[in-house]
Symmetry: C2
Subunit: 405 residues, 2 copies
Amino acid sequence: MGRRLADVSAPARLAAPGEGIGRDELALAARNHGLPLEAMRHDLTPPGLHYVLTHYDIPHVPDGTPWQLTLGGRVRRPLRLDPAALRDFPQVTTRVTMECAGNGRALLTPRPVSQPWLVEAVGTAEWTGAPLRLLLAEAGVAPDAVDVVFTGADHGVERGVEQDYRRALPLRVAAGGDPEVLVAYAMNGGPLPPQHGHPLRLVVPGWYGMAHVKWLREITVAAEPFTGFQQAVAYRLRSRPGDEGEPVTRIVPRALLVPPGFPDFMTRRRVLRPGPVELEGRAWSGQAPVVRVEVSTDAGRTWREAEAAADDGHRWAWRRWRHRWTARPGEHVLSARATDAAGHRQPLEQPWNRGGFANNLVQRVPVLCLDDDENGHEGDGHDENGHEGDGHEGNGGAGDGVGRA
Amino acid sequence: MGRRLADVSAPARLAAPGEGIGRDELALAARNHGLPLEAMRHDLTPPGLHYVLTHYDIPHVPDGTPWQLTLGGRVRRPLRLDPAALRDFPQVTTRVTMECAGNGRALLTPRPVSQPWLVEAVGTAEWTGAPLRLLLAEAGVAPDAVDVVFTGADHGVERGVEQDYRRALPLRVAAGGDPEVLVAYAMNGGPLPPQHGHPLRLVVPGWYGMAHVKWLREITVAAEPFTGFQQAVAYRLRSRPGDEGEPVTRIVPRALLVPPGFPDFMTRRRVLRPGPVELEGRAWSGQAPVVRVEVSTDAGRTWREAEAAADDGHRWAWRRWRHRWTARPGEHVLSARATDAAGHRQPLEQPWNRGGFANNLVQRVPVLCLDDDENGHEGDGHDENGHEGDGHEGNGGAGDGVGRA
């Protein structure tokens, strides 16, 4: 019997009711990773904490490896550019909040079987590169062009189809200035890390992560709409398997809380002590600026306006928000809800599609506020040195940014 | 009814037969992360790809936050040191392969319910700091001292016990020179990233990750053996719940392959084409240098000697190995097996304990070698530009380190 590519792939499917996360989903979760939500305290996500999703292996491109980006297809003057040549174009730096299109998938019912994100597939970085519109202008786009196709060096199989990762943007987006698409060669002022596309990647501010093609080696201007796997099969909003579906494009609004208090290791439940707590978090939308964040501390029954940080000029990055709350003993469910200037508002019921894409259901953070007199702190009897408190009196714990000195 | 810490914790347990990964395990997998195995090609793990496990939240310590490390307890001259003062001690840099004690846990039968690592919880970095033995000498350890206790700023609950993360080393290890324990303030030449212990952490070469206390703020020399949670309850090798158990200490030998070929996105199955393949990987042991690596390409029935790289003087870091193989069409299971100079050799049957610790079962990498004529590559019809091949002819694919220019 022949050995075929189809033998390694499985059809897309939904998990059965109550079905736990499978070995395949776990293997994805072990290599890709989300942003630990407490790290949303940083305006710019520290190296290594930004979410990462790679469909296949991370290409191995040691420093000094020659690399050329070609720009061809329906253009008058095909270009071949190495990373140094890209620096001859005007250099643009943009702060971008990037989110995986599948963020929230593992919380859906039924659960589409794929990378099992909870809500952490997000991160913010400053990307520096050459504006794609200037590269396209230099090459001279033919009048019949409709799509611009981007090919990465990452190679694998999906649903029986062997492929280099490849996605397209409509020409009007690729050549447009709002957002200004970048061919990026730096992240937070340094070279791209291997997992973020070293040496070159596309950055499409406001769009979900699948558009930001990593390890970029080829740009092709096409006179026909692109129908490759990642465009026509994957990353579509479908309610039934046979539907053509709508393409996944820009990020819909989402707000997330930095979970307050401290966690239980295994259950991940959050614990607080009674008293004032400053709730905080971030909110973003790729469609229009976030204009409003509301907070609920009673499982969504009532909502109050949070205080959003002043506009800092970073149109494509998340916005900080805060809300003062007084925690009383008992169980509480905390939520935040973003609305953008175009009137898009996060839903309270799950937006469901077969891929689990663009799902911005409001986050729920259950917390337990202890009784005033509860003190379960480890009495370990070795502390002859008299250290100055274990941070369990307040609600900031180790996460409050206050040094122990 | 009172709200107690015990309400947020659950007892330690084993998964039922066939039980999928639960929401709690997934939440751990989404925030902690392993090393994508293809990144073992790098001698030093690139930033952000080194494995990370944090029990609780990552403490938020913005640059410029005052930080003091105290060294007290059974000493003649208690010390208070800020990170700058540590640089007045001799500066030592050590290349260390670090592995989580729970690596491999999710592959065990039955599966202990905790952070569900497959085999990726490893990474190699160069850590720079002050030798702990010199700090202890400066403080003057009392003659009755037996343990040295290390306290981090990370705070949470485990099994109903609220605690700062705290672990001890026997005095002879803490004050010894083999390995030389470091209070580290730099990783790969730069400041520690937040998730790796910024601003200070312990580094104990050759020991599993639980010993390398992050966000280190207190060192206490004690005259009694330390009986805190992470020493006496967690990180013990137990076959039954009530056992006292043996402490988890040094890393047992393990070899891992860089999985050859390319993956299917969802199943993670590896695909190859017929022909020569250079298998490669890394091997390490915290007990003694790795002296032998064997490779099997027939599911462990036969073994051949791999070619191990020459000793590079980095005693505490992994060793590279290679093995030439000719892939023929069909299904194969690849394995590698390490033996160290003390005669420890990886087992072919799972070493099982209730915590899933120090489990170095030989890795199994199933691969499918296609028939010669199989070509399922996406024909996407847009490639007027004539790019130079999609890397699907060989077995290196995008991971072979060869540029596309």
